[in-house]
Amino acid sequence: MAIILTESEAKALCQKVLSYSKADECEVNILGEERGNLRYARNEVSTSGSLINQNLQVQSAFGKKVGVATIDEFSDESFEKVVRRSEELARLAPENPEYVSVLEPQTYLKSNGFFESTAGVNPDYRAEAVAKSLELTRSQNMTAAGFLENQKGYSAMMNSKGLFAYYPSTSVNFSLTVRTPDGKGSGYVAKGYSDVKKLDTATATKIAIQKSKGSVDAKALEPGKYTVILEPTAAAVLLENIFFNMDARSADEGRSFLSKAGGKSKLNEKIVDERVNIYSDPTHPDLPSSPWAGDGQAANKMAWIENGVVKNLVYSRYWAQKNNVKPVPFPTNMIMAGGTASMEDLIKSTQRGILVTKLWYIREVDPQTLLLTGLTRDGTFFIENGVIKHPIKNFRFNESPVIMLNNLETLGKPERVVSTESNSNYLIPPMKIREFTFSSLSDAV
């Protein structure tokens, strides 16, 4: 059997598995994927690997007693076995008071996230793409360490009420750190695409080389509050902490940055600048994603923060039922709307500020305020009178993305970025922020 099943093959397989079910309710989830990667460091290939993964998960329920079992070997015999095992586990399990009956069939949006170009990536393609990058760094006497990873796969689900969902996707992520031979300069680039035709490793490498050369002989600035321009790669790792924490239950329970005094949540309240609009849209051509969430709910276009106001929170089906509201699934992508300004415009309009190209080692310091700490890395620059003056030494920051989005000056044009923390892809604009808090200097390059 192929690893990547077509829609009709996946449907037939799910039906076969369900045919063995004797439980009150049954749900089948399957996935198949093929991944390949090539890693290099010190201008040489260090490791390469490939991964083939398939998995089938069956959830059986007798009343509110639920059991889950999985297999990674696909055969008729194993399909029946996994169903039986999930049923045995369900019978042994204590009642789950939070179990909600499986969903009726849903209607999903159309989203094209599978590209034949990416599906066709092979070891030769990876070697050639990396060779283009290495030629540049070697010829310019710079030192490269990079990682190229591609993936093709699908996921599907079916339940005993007749719901069926299927989504195939492809992706490629490329990241590269270029250092000067004396270790005084370092530059970074990361690109993520669904369609590998958009990936140009040579152009990306040139960006990292330019940042690396430009970051040599950095001067120290006093820590304090500065106007910053965050490139989308830097902004993403801060903003995703908002995305991860949009859960209604935590907010209602009083243990989220979206909780407030008196035991209520901040739903429908303005929490950031009115120009902030964050939404999810699985059909966005630059960031296609699954039109259905893990539990089978339709992932429709959804506003999360609209004109600075919290418009929606994630409601699990259990929490929605308990609170008598409509369930809202966790989004399958995240997009922050932007303006029209280019990076040049943002720099030109800055009298005194700091250009941050990447942030690193982001950790939550206080979940109450979403205060985060971390450091600038791989190219940080001082801007004066609308021009980049010189590279500066890296800073540690302590800042909350909520406070930051209240101190918004200007938004640029969104672009697809890869989070250097979670590896997730987003559409994020560059942004100018006033009074961003840098608390100490770092000697790291």
């Binding site: 460091a41 690997g49 993964n53 070891p123 009083g254 310091v365 700490t373 000697d443």
Partner: protein, 547 residues
Amino acid sequence: MKRRDFMQMSGLGLSAIMMPSVPVIGSTVAAEHLLDPWMDATSKKKLTEIALNAARSKGATYTDVRIGRYLQQFLYTREKQVQNIVNAESYGIGIRVIANGTWGFSATSDVTPDGIAKCAATAVEIAKANSKFQKEPVELAAQKGVGEQTWKTPLKKNAFEIPVQQKIDLMLNVSGAALDNGASFVASNLFFVNEQKYFASSDGSFIDQDIHRIWPTFTVTVTDKATGKFKTRDALSSPMGMGYEYLDGIASEKIAGPNGLIGYRNSYDMVEDAVLAAKQAKEKISAKSVEPGKYDLVLDPNHLGLTIHESVGHPTELDRVLGYEANYAGTSFATLDKWQSKNFAYGSKLVNIVADKTQANTLGAVGYDDEGVPCKEWDIIKDGILVNYQATRDQVKILGEKESHGCCYADNWSSVQFQRMPNISLKAGTEKRSVLDMIKGVEKGIYIVGRGSYSIDQQRYNFQFGGQVFYEIKNGEITGMLEDVAYQSNTQEFWNSCAQLCDKDDYRTFGSFFDGKGQPSQISAVSHGCATTRFNGVNVINTGRKI
């Protein structure tokens, strides 16, 4: 062919948020299946010989083979209910070769003679293909074959033999104890891991190892509706290289600390800690917000372990120093020239840091590493001076050494082994000194217990650490609890401010159960031992904000 399942256990309560992606490797099985015996050593030896012969016949000059069965049992509860129980098993074979002077690796779950031979051939093909990019051939430190050997974690109670119901009862008792003492929410986790791995190499080693690890933990949350404030306190347990006996809560393994705090050595009382956690989380709601400035810090082993991990463990990994991790984890300030100078003062004269993979009950303790090197202990920092690194067989020549440090590890049969951190521990002081003795000598300080938020730059200079519980020290006495505390320092400055050590009676290990490194990322588990230690004049910031 590599085959590996990777389920992300996220969103399972606050403890899961603390560990955003807990990797479950393999397919789920019944709990009883985790006790089923796997292949015997003789059968494994035969299979590894197929791989060794196949690789040699295809042109490999060196081969090592790992047949592994990796078992995990993870349990999750929230308040009075069981959220999830995962029993997972993963098995297969990983073959690593040197051909044309270059590494090649391939893995398969098809553990048949035919599948293994094909896998060995693929590993050689990959090595030959990658050799086009190689400038210098790989050179391994010699390792004499050790013949047939076995090693087993010296545990008293195999956690996989303890009925699931007994574990659930414990976790629900933890919930009950916390809720009865003022907790609003409590999420608990029990993690059990067993690696059954058989290593064989063309050097003539055939090593059968059975390794067990355990980590019980929880997060207690207290919310205050009126103010909208909430505070958490995580368990003060440690991940250990032990069996279920770690949860016995033996009195002789407890160290009484100030303000009702209890230090747990090699035995942990989870219910007792949950009671204290609920009380402390409640106290944190109204604790005084710290005045920023310079303080002398008294750091408990359950806190300092992570600081050691980040500021000594990672920077002395030789692959980082050389630039192999530059694109992700970063490089290191502890460059070779500093080591070569023989006078780089990493810390004060009191600072003696040892690396080891032999200390009993630790996460790093094994008999042999994943390239067949017998484990040992060696100095990293001696009397404050940087004297060595952590290295593998293909790296030690850079240090002028002929014998590997035994620091090679892969998190699964399907992952290629590479340099991973051994236990890195700070030696206890030689003068008799308790925590109370230490606090008595501090005029203006903060006593910090537990692992909080942590962040360090990519060369390991600048770091910031929080904690779980903070007490203000004034004129030799604890005056009350503090909140919004984080300290920032520079690694060399910090370790040079090390002013006093408690003695061996206070020595305990802390550790990291899911330490991530590499691309694609692999996990590993490592312990860090120390006694309570004092650092003078460290910069403390206030992390309180309003949104």
